[in-house]
Symmetry: C2
Subunit: 425 residues, 2 copies
């Protein structure tokens, strides 16, 4: 491996992937771990680098969680990678967005990969784990949670349980007087909401942190008097701009959507995921969701799953919602997601690394040559579904930089090259 | 069912079993739950009645936890109860310790049972769930955790990894200068330690609450300056009386034992339980342990397990450590536990409802006609292993009173009657 020892992002240098391996650094080792090697909730460094390399495989040890039960069925088979397939992928050359030649296996380290699984035509052809992650251990999916949650919401719309043309207060009268008073459910689902709320992770004053503190996912300062839970926080949100004009990525939209789903169905997100996805897909491990102080699962980013189980969900999406002869999700819902939304509205959001993308039902739709669509989570979480290449890639990572823009210059060309290699095979 | 609507303990009246069912009372129902029906960590009523009827099936939603992985093997078969067997047990008459005639099924309600499984000759002949508990949902085992942990410790002694004749500071130099400075590991394992520490749950000033706060399992008051984790707390313990003279039930002994086990083996309790018990037994659900603020699993009472999986552990003990043709625990270790310790030392502890008992390796040994030994946890948790009746009973409950003395007057005669009925069959 030619991974470098340190890497620079936004003008700051960080230990590289192998050098920041939490086992190498000794995080949480010892009985007790030395004070300077502890990852604790109270210290509020569990999302900081390099602690995050341990934390994202141990979220339940830091905060309360709700189980996503796998059900009683046996794990569905995924096949075993052959050494030849795996070696071919390890050696895959590609050119990154900066014009540099790269190799797949080294790029895993330079994207701080914790684990990666590749499915081709539904068979596992590649699988790697690094650092704190093991095959059976759930890892934070962060915002891929949104893709799970909104796919379920779209299914509920298809079933007539939800009406996407309704305004939010139809379901949640509490949201009258907020930014969402005149927003339709579909605008929420496509994140075309004008709301005063910043998701800039590098800004410690961004509202994403207020939302996190309300949800109990960051420590609260002494004398904290802010919102006590997610629902309280959502009711503080005020309008800024018009709905329906532009894509604007804001986690609170998903949290609100999940509130609607729970209010209407009475089924908690953890249970809906279990009943509609985990159990019928034959997931092999229970997943879990972080919960707020009144037990509400964090629909905006709280899901933790074993890597193969996230790959199974990608495969379900690749197969138009069908699995083992059963239609688990309406084909029309998956087709609608794959079709994407208006790239012009996406372009207004200014993602210069994602030209031509759109955002539909909380999936990032590439409109690339493989018809790929992605679940994307901060710090490098990725679920890439490329139907025309018959390809699914599930990746967990613990990148020092939250924004996907820090890893997209490697990730996107690598995924495209893999799709081309498999398409030519 | 003739369960009464209210029951009296220690001069105080409580809602009865069916009347305090958390589903009936609406705890944590609604989106969000009404303020007066929320069970939260911060409110510090999650161990109070009737909230506890919900909490003990939802511990992971209140505090951080570590997974006890079930492994990759399929669940081991336990058989299915026949309606006739179940009906016979439901109708089982017995006389409680106060001389009142009782019936098994009604007694379940009057002991606030959340779930109960009966195995006879290794086959499941009876199973019931109530309230918040379901078959696949882990429930707090409370101090049955100790029986799991110390059985593993005894196995480590048998393997020569630990030496039970050593003084504690041999393994933990940090404990020099504490109550444990001159205590042997065996004295710890049998809870014959002279230490200034009270386990009187009805006393809000008892040290059990300091220990809990140190471990992050109870909210800390503003300006809290006490121990920050279990290990720090253990180092504050001072001597009171002599070791080896009498049984004295103190949870800190188990926590200390688990610290020794982790220091020596490097394997966290959650992983040791997975490797030595959960996986080889074919447990059907993952279990979990609550953890302290530095990630240390609470060996003194933090285990949560699905009911059938706790029954499997009982069956392993009934079968002298053998399971499916493999010796998972040394037969000598199980024999030693079954043999018990000195009842005279037990008698000094003053358990008037438990005449003739002894306490060995953190099991309560009845010395009754069925050679039964028990794991016992507050609020009604019980794992009853009766070799001469070929019987194992696993019960979870959420009794309003912590002390087992509140349910023993029903529980012990019921278990004895069941053993006699099965023995006569």
């Amino acid at each position: 491996m030619d991974a470098t020892d340190t890497l620079e992002f936004d003008g700051k240098r960080y230990l590289g992937g192998p050098a920041s391996d939490p086992n190498v650094l000794g995080w949480m080792q010892g009985t007790p771990p030395a004070a300077e090697r502890r990852v604790t909730f109270a210290g509020d460094r569990f999302f900081a680098f390099p602690e995050i390399r341990w934390s994202l495989s141990h979220m339940r040890e830091l905060v309360p969680t709700a189980n996503v039960w796998r059900g009683e069925t046996a794990a569905s088979p995924l096949g075993q990678p052959s050494p030849a397939d795996a070696a071919a992928i390890d050696a895959l050359p590609f050119t990154d967005m900066n014009g540099q030649p790269r190799r797949w296996d080294a790029a895993l380290h330079d994207t701080y990969t914790d684990g990666i699984v590749v499915l081709h035509r539904g068979k596992r052809i590649y699988e790697r784990y690094f650092g704190a992650l093991q095959a059976h251990v759930p890892h934070s999916c962060f915002s891929i949670t949104k893709s799970y949650a909104c796919t379920l919401a779209a299914a509920l719309v298809h079933e007539g349980v939800l009406d996407e043309t309704r305004l939010v207060p139809h379901y949640l009268p509490e949201m009258q007087g907020t930014a969402y008073a005149n927003a339709t459910l579909r605008q929420v689902m496509d994140m075309q909401i004008g709301v005063a709320y910043s998701e800039l992770y590098s800004d410690p004053k961004a509202q994403i942190w207020d939302y996190s503190r309300a949800g109990g996912l960051r420590p609260r300062p002494a004398g904290y008097s802010g919102a006590q839970n997610f629902y309280e926080y959502l009711q503080t949100l005020r309008p800024e701009g018009e709905h329906g004009q532009a894509f604007a990525y804001k986690t609170v939209n998903t949290e609100l959507l999940c509130w609607v789903m729970k209010r209407v169905t009475g089924v908690a997100l953890a249970d809906m995921l279990s009943q509609r996805i985990w159990a019928p897909l034959g997931c092999e491990q229970d997943g879990y969701l972080t919960v707020d102080p009144i037990g509400v699962p964090m629909g905006g980013g709280g899901l933790n799953a074993a890597l193969r189980d996230m790959a199974r969900f990608g495969e379900l999406m690749r197969c138009d919602g069908a699995w083992g002869g059963r239609q688990l999700l309406p084909a029309a819902v998956v087709a609608d997601i794959r079709g994407g939304a208006d790239p012009a509205k996406f372009a207004k959001a200014g993602y210069t690394l994602l030209p031509g993308y759109s955002y539909r039902s909380m999936w990032w739709v590439t409109h690339n040559e493989h018809g790929a669509f992605e679940g994307r989570g901060i710090h490098g979480q990725r679920l890439y579904v490329a139907p025309k290449a018959e390809l699914v890639v599930a990746r967990f990572a613990s990148h020092p930089v939250a924004a996907s823009a820090a890893n997209d210059p490697l990730t996107l060309p690598a995924l495209l090259a893999l799709g081309r290699m498999l398409g030519a095979a």
